[in-house]
Symmetry: C2
Subunit: 328 residues, 2 copies
DNA sequence: TTCATTTCTGCATACGTATGCAGAAAATAT
DNA sequence: ATATTTTCTGCATACGTATGCAGAAATGAA
């Protein structure tokens, strides 16, 4: 009972061949209006839907995009997931979701995607191990790194322009008179965190600003703890630039817990503009990632590659904008 | 180049038949150790992986579970997504993710799941339209409603024991001397919110407590706004019981913005125990949903049904526990 | 050793769809 | 009207795997 009606059943009822039924559901195939009508009527009556497996077996390509995600706890990514699912659905694609614990994607994380002949893959916050890299190229499966880039010039990536954004942030902090600044990084082996630091420090270069970097891990607790350390070491700066919002919220809370007034005694800027940054308790100044546009660009690239594989490698960087709130 | 090696290629290299290759990868089939070894060696050399589509076409059942989710913004659900993906992967299943906007799942939301012959479906925070109900039964596809229940006695659901939990919450608030209480509901057409109210008010019944219900929508803004209204109407209670944490955080922030001291002037209890509830700024007293156990039970049911379909319908309710923090 | 039993293997076919090909039907031209 | 082109259709086959069946190989019993 599982697989109910097949194209054959529909064909019989409509009085046509199975091929004709197939052609009705295959975009671009040539069918007469009359046949189409008959088939659709029969299909409706029987409740027919083409079997995607059989279809993929023939075409050797599925309508599935693999989405690999790590930082599910950071509200930024569920938002990304939502946008991807919605956008891909519009184009007839579905999302096979893969959660990973690894910063660097391993073969076992994604072999399932290959087994399902996914049409393409998006990896949102992780990089690639070498063997995985090879597989993507070998099987010519379009891949986009989202919010991470990779320096091997073999894949397409879509990020916010982290370098420029961070320069603008530094510029802004200088303009309001900060002279002692701290950058709190995320995982240091992520391109995102490194780029943000690079832009930030580049802009401070040559100025008389006292600048220090501390390392953390992109989590709220990470931000909270490192801020506590800094406070206890009496290293309080004029301003914190924190590599993402969720850590920044941790920093803000640590400061509050130590009765340090924001923005009077010190300032905090985050990155991402997650929903919570706008909440009244936080009111966090931050950089807005152009997330909708980033997703659209990713989908656009994927669809192009599916149309005709080029293997184009490029780091697409999209601007964003500074959102001024009450922590600066 | 897309689909590289097939079982036939492996067979040739290993000097056996395609059937034997198939049997090596099919659990429970009978193959000699020698053949198995030869096949695995050849497969390793060629990089063979069985094509899931062809496989599903034969068995008429995929290793895919459809996961339908609505409230992606509420941190509770990404956590659920993570746990499901992890648990299902252990059992060899993958997750086809579907995002929906609808409180009530429509045919178009999930027809894709049927096209892919999903082995089972989990719907996390939505109910079902009638036609969808029928399809699940007709095609005998196991379905679990997660964190929602449905009163038609046709499906399995897994929830926290919302009724008992809410009674316990009321009991606790009574025990600390609250005499004026407000319940803030989520979407009122969700079983979850209704059950929580039912338990809460049942326990207050007969006591001299002044009790009122206000309606909201399970979002932070919803909680924030309704709390502002309540404050402006000078209806401030001794305690708020809020149908979920994310709204409760909104309530807390609204109270803070009005300089109302928590827990001295009023108290707040949420529901879910999302990560943020433990953050120092909030320190929210809440009810912990036994989320890991809920997910495990869901997976267990699905696997049983896949073993042998029973269509068992039941509302499984699992306890949880009161987490006391600083808002009470 | 020989025979009975069990375990394994290859053959052939099936799953539901897409598609090249050749011929039928329809449309257009003459 | 016929001839020519175009559009459509059915037939047959292919995709990569699983599986019933019958026979081969291995094992155990005597």
């Amino acid at each position: 009972m599982k697989q109910g009606v097949t194209a054959k059943d529909v064909a019989k009822l409509a009085g046509v061949s199975q091929s004709s039924v197939s052609r009705v559901y295959f975009e671009g195939a040539s069918v007469s209006a009359k046949t189409k009508e008959k088939v659709l009527a029969a299909a409706e009556e029987l409740g027919y839907r083409p079997n995607e497996f059989a279809r993929s077996l023939i075409t050797n390509q599925s309508k599935i995009i693999g989405l690999v995600m790590k930082g599910v706890q950071n509200p930024f990514y569920p938002q990304v997931l939502k946008l991807f699912t919605t956008s891909l659905k519009k184009h007839g694609y579905s999302v096979l979701f893969v959660y990973t614990n690894n910063d660097e994607i391993q073969k076992e994380d994604i072999e399932i995607l290959f087994n399902y002949n996914v049409a393409g893959v998006v990896i949102t916050d992780a990089s690639l191990s070498l063997s995985v890299t090879e597989d993507f190229i070998k099987y010519q499966i379009p891949l986009v790194l989202f919010n991470r880039k990779i320096d091997n010039n073999k894949f397409y990536s879509v990020c916010c322009n982290n370098y420029e954004a961070s320069k603008r942030i530094a510029e802004y902090l200088l303009s309001i008179g900060c002279t002692k600044m701290i950058y709190i990084s995320g995982n240091e082996n992520t391109s995102t965190s490194r780029e943000r630091e690079r832009g930030f420090s580049a802009m401070l270069q040559g100025s008389k600003v006292h600048y220090q970097k501390y390392s953390s891990d992109y989590t709220y607790e990470g931000g909270y703890n490192i801020a506590c350390e800094i406070i206890e070491e009496k290293q309080l700066p004029d301003a914190f630039f924190v590599a993402n919002d969720i850590m920044a919220l941790g920093v803000v809370d640590a400061l509050k817990d130590h009765q340090i007034a924001i923005p009077n005694e010190t300032k905090v800027i985050g990155f991402d503009n997650i929903e919570m940054a706008a909440w009244p308790t936080y009111n966090l100044t931050t950089w807005e990632q152009p997330i909708t546009e980033m997703v659209e660009e990713t989908v656009k690239y994927l669809l192009n590659e599916l149309e005709e594989y080029s293997g184009e490698a490029k780091n697409l960087e999209i601007d964003g904008s500074l959102i001024l709130r009450k922590t600066t």
